[in-house]
Structures are given as C-alpha cells and as structure tokens.
Symmetry: C3
Subunit: 131 residues, 3 copies
C-alpha cells in the first residue's frame, strides 16, 4: 500500500491527484490490473471528473453546497455535518482500471481529492492489484 | 465469497458492520489486498462514514430524506422509489484497502449497511482479493 | 481489459448493460473474483439498481434532475455542468462480485450505463480480477 500526503487550503476544494496516482502505477510496473484510491477521512472523499476546465470543479462544489448546506440544524456538535454528508454522496473510494501500464481515465478524466472540511493535512491510500 | 445476514428494524437506518467485515478479513489471513463489500438489494446500500458520534448517522439520514423525499409523485408503484434513488446516490458497493491484515479505515471510519426501505432481512456480500 | 460500445439516444438515459458485462465474465471463465465496470467519460456514469420496473429508471432520472437542475447559473461554458455533477454523485465506476462464474447482483440488480449529456457514442471499460 502506498500513501500520498496532501495539504488542503480551503474548506471545500477539489485537488487533482492524477499524476501522483499514475506515478505509483508506473513505479509498480503493473501492466494490467486495478488501482483502489481510498480517503481514510470521513469529511472528505475521492471523485473522478473533468480536469480541463477549472469551472467544472467550482460548479460541482457550488451545487454540492446547495444540496447539503453548511448550516441546517444538524445534530452533530462539531459543525461539520455537511462535510460528512458530502463525503457519503461523493464516496471515499474509487476503483480505477490499469491497462497497458496506464490509468484508463478517458480523454478528460482526472482523480480529485475532495476536501469538505479543510484546510487540513490529509492522506490518500492507494492499493494496486495485478490482474 | 462470504455473506453476512442483517436484520434491520427501521425504514431508514445505518448499521455498523465494520467488525463483521474485519472478522472476515482476519479469518482469510490476507495481509495485503482489497475487500469489496456489496449490497445485493436495490433499496439499500453501503456507505463509509464516522462511527464515533451517532448524530452523524442521523444527520446523514435526515439530509438524504430532504434531498429525496419519501412522497414525490414517483411513478414506481411500490412506494419505495425514494429508497431506490438513495441507493443510487450512496452506492451499493464500497472497495476497502486491506494492509497488514487490517481494513485501512482511518481513525473514524466505519462501514455501514444503509437501509432505506426497512425493516427487512438483508444480506451483505464480501469478496477479498489478495495483492 | 474489455471495452463495450454504447450509443445513447437521449440527454438523460439509463441503459441496462448487465448482459454484456455477464458475457465478458462468462468468456473469462473466472469463477471467483471481482469485476470493475468503468465509464471513461465525465458526463456519464455507472449505477446499479432495479432492472424490473422501468418506472424506477425514470424516477431516478427525474429526481436527479430536480437535485441538479440543467440550468442553474453554472460557470462551465459548455452547458453540461449538470451532467458533470450527476456523474460525480452517481459515480463513474462500480465494483461487482463474481462468484460461481456469475455476477452477484441479487434478485433485482442490473448494471446501468448512466447517460447525462447524450445522445452520444460512449464506451464502458471492464477489468476482471481473479481471486
């Protein structure tokens, strides 16, 4: 298992970690298999989406904020229930396909660490499985 | 493949199944690999979130209920369309990382069977893959 | 890795691809393992839900459209931000369990390609891992 360290700078933020994950795949020399990207935090997650136009990131974060408002008479006393709920909706893990030694992300796909309760020091765990 | 049986007691309920899943991992003696947790029902799901403060569970369920109301002029005649939609949003499967013989859940992560149309008898399927 | 080609016909559409995925599993002769189904597009996804009553599909799509409206002052200039956000919520990959040579979907589970910005030519990638 590999571990990537991330420093987030905002409360809500999508950070592209595609190159770090591909570097782990390349180092492993695995040609065919899968790659599990896992966020071991319950107020953040992992999502896959367009890595070309940064407006896509802000549209995703803004709409998530409308679906799950920050203040909504939540019971959890830490004041970050919205972050827990966003994590549940987006997911804290994604499974990618490795073929020909490369993550098969399509033309526009990027892997994003999804911070919902930053800024914080975070980790991402990566496990590769050979076919 | 292993199968866990669960009896739910409410229409909407998050049930912590972390210890049952870890027991399957421990029995397998796999040190490095992944663990797929799969809900073979279309009105329930699997989610990963905080297992410390039970208020987090109720905040997640309450907000899901606001996003997907129980009664909303749905077409499906069985009266549980909200449960199908919640299952699609939360997901019916999660892939966890096993390292050093343990599920790598972080400090607060728990695995929850997510009932959206209970009470019912349910199953959870578990498949382990060695690295 | 296998690749399935799909032609969608509407802007929002769920297309059952269960039989195509099971055919790939059967051809592989794998008895125990997992099957990763991956959508390499950022305005579509993969979801698992009921494949019996088609009203479930329309209820899911209609509610998703209410949660993520098509026109909402998004920043992304291509006019398909709703599709990117729906993809992030539904997910672009699902991991299924193969046991006894069959996808373990339960009584009503089907695998659906989830189009949110059609009609388009699309692909689905499939990677099998033997236990």
């Amino acid at each position: 298992m590999e571990c990537i360290k991330i420093k987030t700078s905002k409360r809500n933020e999508l950070i592209d970690i595609t190159s770090e994950i591909q570097a782990i795949v390349s180092k492993s020399k695995i040609k065919e298999g899968i790659c599990v990207v896992y966020c071991p935090h319950t107020t953040a997650g992992i999502t896959i989406n367009e890595n070309a136009d940064p407006d896509v990131k802000s549209d995703i974060l803004n709409r998530l904020g409308a679906i799950v408002p920050e203040n909504e008479n939540y019971s959890h006393s830490e004041g970050n229930s919205d972050a827990h709920i966003k994590s549940a909706l987006i997911g804290n893990n994604q499974t990618l396909i490795v073929s020909d030694g490369k993550l098969q992300l399509g033309s526009w796909g990027g892997i994003f660490f999804s911070e919902f309760d930053g800024p914080r020091q975070r980790q991402v765990l990566v496990q590769l499985i050979k076919q």
